[in-house]
Subunit: 100 residues, 2 copies
DNA sequence: TGGATATATGCGCTTATGCGCATAATCGCA
DNA sequence: TGCGATTATGCGCATAAGCGCATATATCCA
């Protein structure tokens, strides 16, 4: 799973990458917040987060009726380095909402 | 074109990533060499290289009947950083030949 | 228990992606 | 000019990916 291709595939989608950008603040974010900020449908957002989770990039935690996502803590250094390098690339209108 | 998503998409394919690994030595490599080392069909290899070229990651140069590919020299620093980070991830049997 | 909120998932559809096959295009050389 | 070697490309096909819609599931609260 630490193979580069699956990592890159997980990141190579605008909405997913935008979600990673949000989670990069180190905090927890529920699906509802992510879908609002990214202007995504509920099912769409849910599935994309599931994909990121399957790739091992994020972790989820149930909190009452919410599911809080956060970046995986114990990530391989090489993987984390790739993510950091990717985030260093200025974000386009990747999957932004009103961009405000 | 410097947007992260297209960069990641270009890299998120085993054969293409394996080609980048080969080109990372800084030298020039013809399609014939790449297809041999990676065990890819001629048309397949040609198209993948075209994809990398379209993404701005490689440059081609006609040399007699050969087309020599090499990593793009004047690449954005952020892009180069991503590539380097990706290459730091140990290669699986990505698209290797006899692995010998 | 019942309703409201939040998230996940089955299903079908549309589009994108990767592939092989055959063929065209390019170039060197006899 | 004609042939061999190398690379690109048109075409059709199979599969993967992303999406919306509806529905199921989980949790809280009255």
């Amino acid at each position: 799973m630490t193979d580069a291709t699956s990592l890159l595939s997980a990141l190579a989608e605008p909405t997913r990458l935008a979600a990673i950008r949000i989670l990069a603040d180190g905090g927890e974010h529920c699906v509802c917040e992510l879908m609002l900020q990214l202007g995504a449908t509920q099912s769409r957002m849910s599935r994309h987060m599931a994909a990121l989770k399957a790739a091992g990039l994020v972790t989820d935690r149930r909190d009452a009726q919410w599911v809080r996502y956060r970046m995986t803590a114990d990530m391989a250094l090489e993987v984390r380095a790739v993510i950091d390098a990717v985030l260093a690339i200025p974000a386009r209108a990747d999957g932004l909402r009103t961009a405000a």
